[in-house]
Symmetry: C5
Subunit: 360 residues, 5 copies
């Protein structure tokens, strides 16, 4: 499937063109053409790239195959680049890249995407409505698509941040194996994202530093802007990864602390009860000659003695500070409210600040 959009000088609006018009359009001075190819790729589509644009067979092969990482290659008269965006439903749990191939010539742009691409659809909509940015040249169209790809990425970063904070709270509230599994899954997704955004950043660095004669000085400023966005995204992914690692370590600390609390409770209880058991055992013995047993005050005295033993044990433990922190399953509730409130307040502030910062 293909769609051809042409901005011809003298014509009011951008219009759709047929494959047959292409050769004429390409040689016409001032005309700009954007060909968008999407699955299924048939003979017609192949003919356009091979015969009309005369692109290098290896590049065409690369383009119609699924490749794993972003790159940019310079060919004679055009650039071939692979970039990635995220699909519409991408979340912290599922952040698969959607590949976009682009051939950028002096007066044309050829894009290809096997899957539906939100970015391309949005730019086609804009071009057909306003003519912008196709009438500013093919590099401007490419920039518009890449800019939207990056916006899609940022939405997923927000989801990551939210998920990480929920996880952090959950671990402090009550650590479960499930949290570790969740953490591993997010870590892996962040690792994957970093892998290709790092390469995409390099592609945009090259687009943004006047390396290619095809890109005008004005256009490099546009691409440098996208590059700056990607740098910030990479930095944030790095921060997220560090935070996940810290949370995984915190998990162990929280579990160890809880085990410590439970052990202390058991120890406390056992050391109070065991002497009482021994005492009752003593007066349960069947010796003939046990004077206490005959005394009328023996029984109440022993009961009082038991209370004294238990009480002095408790006092001893209190002195040691053991009673200060009863074992609590919901540690969160035991948290000083100010601390918890402060943390949550800081979070919302930081989160909103980040949002402002990243989205100009």
């Amino acid at each position: 499937m293909f769609r051809i959009l042409a901005a011809v000088p003298g014509e009011q609006t951008v219009r759709d063109a047929t494959a047959d018009e292409l050769p004429a359009l390409l040689t016409r001075s001032g005309a700009r053409v954007w060909v968008d190819l999407s699955a299924p790729i048939g003979e017609a589509e192949t003919a356009i790239v091979r015969d009309v644009f005369k692109l290098h067979p290896l590049a065409i092969e690369d383009c119609f195959e699924r490749r794993a990482h972003p790159k940019i290659d310079e060919y004679d008269g055009y650039l071939y680049l692979i970039t990635h965006g995220l699909s519409a439903g991408a979340t912290a749990d599922s952040a698969e890249p959607v590949e976009l191939d682009a051939f950028l010539g002096a007066n044309y742009l050829v894009t290809h995407h096997a899957d539906a691409s939100r970015s391309v659809a949005a730019v086609i909509e804009q071009v057909t409505r306003t003519g912008i940015p196709l009438n500013q040249g093919p590099a401007a169209v490419l920039h518009a698509i890449l800019d939207r790809q990056v916006d899609g990425l940022e939405a997923v970063l927000d989801n990551f941040e939210e998920r990480i904070e929920t996880l952090e709270d959950a671990v402090f509230a009550r650590p479960r194996n499930d949290h570790i599994a969740s953490l591993l899954s997010m870590k892996r997704n962040i690792l994957e994202l970093r892998r290709w955004t790092a390469k995409q950043r390099e592609v945009l660095l090259r687009l943004g530093r006047r390396e290619f004669a095809l890109i005008t000085a004005e256009d490099t400023l546009l691409f440098r802007d996208v590059h700056d966005h990607l740098v910030r995204i990479n930095d944030l992914l790095e921060v997220f990864r560090d935070m996940l690692t810290s949370i995984q370590e915190a998990y162990l600390s929280v579990v160890s602390n809880r085990t410590n609390d439970i052990m202390r409770f058991l120890t406390l209880f056992s050391t109070i009860m065991m002497p009482l058991t021994v005492l009752t055992g003593i007066y349960g013995m069947n010796f003939d000659h046990m004077p206490e047993l005959r005394s009328a005050h023996g029984y109440p005295l022993v009961l009082v003695g038991m209370l004294l033993i238990a009480g002095s044990m408790l006092l001893y433990f209190r002195h040691r500070g053991w009673l200060g922190q009863p074992p609590s399953v919901d540690e969160k509730a035991a948290d000083e409210p100010p601390a918890a409130a402060r943390r949550s307040a800081e979070r919302s502030r930081r989160s909103s600040a980040r949002r402002e910062a990243v989205r100009p």
Copy 2:
């Protein structure tokens, strides 16, 4: 909102100017102009940067938007740079950057800050009072602002150091989950600070190495000084981060050690009490033929036997060294006083040494 300060040769003091005077001032030989823009940004402010200074539209757009990281871009005839400072109330728990944009021309400086900026306010106050540093040129004004930003940063570093030391003591005294949460929050703030101070350092490195024709040799020395400060700040942030990681690991060790202590106490107590329980159980059995029960000395002998068992158990444990370290919740109190004192003494010494070292 905007304020225009002009240092005109022949005039005694720096004076405020209006927007209408600007074009004349900029062409007047020897005159130096500083325009400070702050929110709200209206048509008047936009007109100044667009029509009077004729700054690049992309740079203006960048300037009035909130960007995430410091950078420096060279344009034709002026430099555009973004730097960050910290707000007045910044602490180790909340260290949000305050952005400052600056356009530095041969005879003018345009600054913009969306939020109130302590650094800018202080320099304005100095300029209106003494004329310095505006009469030394716009680069000197820029340096004065950047220098004050860095001073603000150092105050927060002190807060970090204090908080980290308090936390370290608290963890050794009695580890709580709250400490881990606090540690994670500080780690995140340090991560954020490092992210942008590292980029700011690069900006100042470029300002300090005669890369730009606009900056005179004398001015590069000034900026190199700020750069040296930022290098030290970055180094300290690195040290703080390493210390927090070590404290997090220490937390786990301390908790494990406490669990070990409690387990030892429980084991000690149980192994003393359980044989006594069995002994009382034996003489509580109802067999008809138990000669001991009939003996007049049976009961006292059994009591003596119980004391002997408990005593020999204690001796055995003492021999093993189990009694040496009773479980104590306040480990700090159990610390050898000299060690604790030495640590605290070293700290105060180091802290004051650092303060001297960082603040020339």
Copy 3:
């Protein structure tokens, strides 16, 4: 053992040649020769490389010895390179490299492998059947072999991914020391693989960047393609390694959590049973004057009291939240089904996506 294949212009098919024909073939214009040497290496084989091709004695020595890492050396008129593939039966548990030595001249390729090489065998089969790629030149033959080596690597990566996911599930289900041993063994294999694939990537980087006059511009594109594959493989090995490290840390968390569960169960049970023991002990004492013992309702009242104690203890623990998570050996079963299902679904999706991505 050796085999000589020659593509001579004018002849329909590639044909086998004898050692005696070699000198003539090498000087014949347009002829391309591929000599494949394999164990055992005797006088005949040595004579070919020494006397016919006049290769450097040090390179020949290197070639017939087993070397540990891939490299490329330029000699006068030919390149000598060592690359590695994996044997047919390689798995995540056993991924030994199979070495391949190659001498690439303008019109010849000499390969040597001590062990059977799947890649070489497959290319020989293709060449004898179709003439391709020998009739495209010796560099094309080399590319075909290297490309097949990389394909073999990718099959093992799939095995690694599968094993890692099985291991992750097993650790969450029930951590065993065996898993740690398995993890260590896989980590070591990944380490080894990374060691030589990183070096092999460098070899292909050099082949792909027009560094050598022997490699035409068109051929560099081919080698760059293999290089891109190796980059992705290296990235994946890095991801696998990170995943294994995360799983090892997760193991400790899961075990700690299980210990915590068991401790909680023991504490719960002990604290319910111990007061009951003390109570029965009290009424088992033999004091003469214990009024309760004489009452007709004493016994049933004590039984009711014991039930009340146990019940209120349980209520207390429930209030604390201790009963919420009974100790379960099969944590997996206790997992919320949606989480487990989500994880497994994500996995299969990711896995298939990766497969597509890596294999163009």
Copy 4:
């Protein structure tokens, strides 16, 4: 306070000079002057550097302030460098740098140190006694000072090594929270030392590679020697840091192992005692019809039965291997003597080897 030493050709010995003689000395051919400034810095001292040597105001300001890190700056006709040494009483617990500023001209050296400097004092003593190295030029004096600074560093490294080994032994003998605190403190000091020795190494690298016209080829050889020392010191600091990290991890392992031992002991004891308790409980029941109670052999048989139960439990545990490693507080004592001896022997050998290696 200042002291001026002058080596004048034709004069036998180096002599002290006054501030008034300085201008004449500096212009006299072949004369070499060393001015050492130390606190307090008054008008006289400032006048010397400002008016006589005409040093750059910024450099003078830097010099009299306390700066945090070593650096070297080239000015017109002289070099300005900041280096650090350690104070006389520096140990592993307290290793504060002592700053030294130096201005090196063609025929003069100006040094400044706010605190007492062992290195400077030693070189002054040598110069006044023998004339060496001042009569070899100011660079030779600088070298002599820097060389002594490095010697001071090495003495502290020895202290670190000793302390680390003591700590390692202590952790294996009996882990205490105190050890972790000690470890954190040493880690922090090593971090600090590495921070400035790394920068000092760069300063000496630049002095040692003929970068500055002021330094003759012969002098660069001297500075390269100091550089080599600093490289080795940096390497050792790196090794120390790795060792401390390993010891911190070992701490956790040792504590976990001890907890394991104690738990095993408790489990062992409990599982032997609890069945005996149940048995005595059974025969303590008050049923009318319990035939065993009437038997004359009941009591001895039950006692025998209890012994048998305890014995078979012990045999079972022995079979399982539980008895092999009794819980011991002094793990060190339980260590195989040869292992401990071997370790200690190796240590003393290594230590002495290192000493030889580092101090030529």
Copy 5:
């Protein structure tokens, strides 16, 4: 002590020369001289290097001192290099470097070693027997020595590998504190080895890349070969270090798992025994009105009830899966035999493969 070997053209064999003959030999065309100096260094030895070879005093000083790290310095007409080997008895526990200094001139080689050097001894033996490699020039002699040094290193690597594998097995069999101590010691030795082999690799890199006019193109090939060996050794040391780190982490996991097992056993046993204790307690109470006590079937029914309680507890635990993994001290024995066998098989295979790979 010194020994002088001379290969003179026209003479059949290499012969020993005296110090007096040296000047003549050095000027004789085609003659090659090797002077080996060893402790004790007296006036005669010093005279040779100072007066005959006229080596730089600083280099001579360096040579006769003990230095810590390998390096290479170019002087006018000769190279001075320091390299390290290992002594004959070096093992994984004790791998002290033996230093070798060498001065390489156009027609001479001067070597110096304070300790006995196996490599030098072996080459002297070969030279006196066959003349080779001295008659090929001094660089060939140097290569022969360096090559033997590397061979000695590889023998120690084998010892490391063996020790690491033994340790890994021991940790899985039964973790002891001793293992951690052993691990720390090996880690430290690997750290030390890496430190100087990394520097030695750089020395050989420089010798192997035609940087020095003294080294012919043919000789660089020889040194490049040694360099390749050192690269592989460095890689292996890195792998060993990673393995030791992984084993240290595995240790903690294994200990935690064992603690978990023991806890489970204790919990199991306690929860079975405690209800029985309570039951016997109930029927041991002395209430007058306890109808069950009067019944003839009371006693047997209670015994049956106790069995039922114990049995149902066991069934419950079995249902939960607690009985599946009894606490075993020898975890190794509990390992599935195939896994253990597989591991060991893989190991021997890998080990032999490595040996082949490293030793060409």
